[in-house]
């Protein structure tokens, strides 16, 4: 066995997995705060990438201006969706809410196609272009910097979640909405906050993803793998999302190289099936006893 090659492949996979992890956090954030399984996360990510494309390539803003603006745009989109569509649905059957997000995804894709057509586009480059070597192992600069940025964002987010007073409000709401409301936490505002933050994170992943492989409406499919990641990790577990993201990124990479690219998604979905059968609440999710 060629260990160096294996390590390189693994690093590439972990790099890709960091993007899964980042997007998965956006997903988990929404789930924890509002108990909504948001299937439109891939589409939110796509819209973020297109916003950056429009600002960076269309308006020719420099990237350090375009990226924050795209992030804010993604955040506003998240809040808009929450306020306009999700909030009226809260308390309804979760499956209805889930299907609403499928519909939202469709609306977002159609809107993007209407504005930008579905032709694939390249994003303006904003990452260093020199090859990175760890020891002898090669890492593509996109992968490396993508990983670094994702890691920093995740760390920042975890710190916020932990120490910021708003983070405590978020966690409190996630833990018990009724009690949070009764404790003076403005729960509807927390919903908006969660969707806004998630929209920002998703937009960020979209920009990173777009920097690697260009933007197109197809990139919304990324959301499906993220769905697998959060199920495997446990819907309500940030840690699970992180670990499962890296795990699945790594697994897809190794499988793609050693078995062939056609097996990548197959293996992912088989893993999903296994997890659902053995541990439906995910590797790190909390198992709620069904009280009658």
């Amino acid at each position: 066995m060629d260990w160096l090659f294996f390590i390189e492949v693994s690093l590439a996979g972990i790099g890709a997995g960091s993007l899964y992890a980042l997007t998965a956090i956006a997903f988990v954030l929404i789930y924890k705060a509002t108990r909504v399984i948001n299937l439109a996360i891939g589409e939110m990510l796509m819209v973020g990438a297109y916003l950056f494309f429009a600002l960076g390539a269309g308006w020719s803003l420099s990237w350090w201006l375009a990226i924050p603006m795209a992030l804010v745009g993604g955040g506003l989109l998240g809040m808009l969706l929450e306020r306009g569509v999700i909030r009226p649905m809260l308390g309804e059957n979760p499956i209805s809410v889930f299907m609403v997000t499928i519909g939202l995804g469709s609306i977002l894709v159609g809107t993007v196609e209407l504005i930008w057509t579905s032709a694939p586009r390249s994003l303006p480059g904003f990452m260093p272009d020199e090859a990175i070597f760890i020891g002898e192992a090669f890492i593509a600069p996109n992968t490396f910097w993508g990983f670094v940025i994702a890691a920093v964002v995740i760390a920042l987010f975890l710190l916020l979640f932990r120490f910021w007073r708003g983070g405590v409000a978020l966690r409190a709401t996630a833990s018990d909405q009724g009690a949070a409301w009764a404790m003076g936490i403005n729960v509807p505002a927390v919903y908006s906050l969660a969707w806004g933050l998630a929209g920002m994170i998703a937009a960020g992943s979209g920009i990173l993803l777009g920097a690697m492989s260009g933007v197109s409406p197809e990139m919304a499919m990324f959301g499906l793998t993220v769905l697998v990641v959060v199920i495997v990790g446990g819907l309500d577990s940030v840690f699970g999302a992180l670990l499962a993201g890296l795990l699945i990124g790594w697994m897809e990479s190794v499988v793609g190289v050693y078995l062939g690219g056609e097996y990548e998604h197959l293996v992912t979905f088989i893993l999903l099936m296994l997890v659902l059968l053995v541990r439906p609440w995910g590797l790190f999710g909390s198992h709620e006893i069904e009280r009658l």
């Binding site: 833990s175 018990d176 009724g178 009690a179 009764a182 404790m183």
Partner: protein, 270 residues
């Protein structure tokens, strides 16, 4: 400034558009006083508290009639968190601590109750720890790992941090041993006395509630059936009947066995 901190008049509550739980309930809580609201399970005590704190919407409930005034202002249309910020704190049944958060973080979450008034300071945290030294010892522990009694302390401590004018306490004795119940109730008494917080106390444990309260109401089927001073209630045989179903005291109620039974013989298809 009106004399009572809370006034409820003739409220009716319906859940899910079908189930009527409160049927014209009225009560008052004086400033700085302790009022006990007693009654058997399902009488509508918790619902009353949720109606006051506007949390009914969480359970698809609706205040269909009547009026609630807190601190001289009607509560209708005020979001729960705004009521809390105005000084009305609801300690819900079953403690409802944030299990994934540490004790201290639970208290931090409670500081939102003061947003717009003044910031919570270290002093406020210390006040809570002073009433509940046990919480200080365990301030780093996850609330989910606390014992039932400690969780109840945390729930009350959280509310205390909000510096409320009125606390709604929903069954603080639930599932606790008699010794712990006495501990907690004596702290409640202290808070009331020292901080001047009015309390509306919902309890099943009538003795301990009435030992603490200045006034008591007893509910059945969504309305108040008896009210009066603790002494009056304790001396009243009716109270026992409500609790233990002993017949004879009131006298006017028929036995269920004697209720007439009509039967329509007609049968048709529609």
């Amino acid at each position: 400034m009106s004399e009572s901190i809370l006034g409820i008049s003739n409220i009716e509550v319906v859940y899910g558009h079908t189930v009527q739980v409160l049927r014209g309930l009225s009560l008052e809580v004086p400033r700085g006083g302790i009022v006990a609201l007693l009654g058997s399970n399902g009488a509508g005590k918790s619902t009353t508290l949720k109606a006051v704190s506007n949390l009914l919407s969480l359970e698809n409930g609706e205040l269909s009639a009547g009026r609630i005034e807190f601190d001289g202002k009607p509560t209708a249309g005020t979001a729960p968190h705004q009521l809390v910020r105005a000084g009305l704190c609801h300690v819900m049944e079953g403690r409802r601590v944030f299990e994934d958060l540490s004790v201290e973080e639970n208290l931090v979450a409670a500081t939102y109750a003061r947003t717009g008034r003044e910031q919570a300071t270290r002093k406020d945290f210390n006040l809570v720890y002073e009433y509940f030294p046990r919480l200080h010892e365990r301030r780093r522990a996850l609330a989910g790992y606390l014992s039932g009694g400690e969780q109840q302390m945390l729930a009350i401590g959280r509310a205390l941090l909000a510096r409320p004018k009125l606390m709604l306490l929903d069954e603080p004795s639930l599932g606790l041993s008699p010794v712990l119940v006495e501990d907690i109730f004596s702290i409640i008494a202290r808070i009331n006395r020292e901080q001047g917080v009015a309390m509306l106390l919902v309890e099943q444990n009538a003795n301990v509630a009435l030992a603490l309260a200045d006034y008591g109401y007893i509910m059945e089927s969504g309305r108040v059936v008896i009210d009066g001073s603790p002494e009056k209630l304790l001396g009243d045989d009716d109270v026992r009947e409500f609790y233990l179903g002993m017949a004879g005291a009131g006298g006017e109620m028929k036995s269920y066995r004697e209720v007439k039974h009509y039967k329509r013989r007609k049968r048709w298809l529609s």
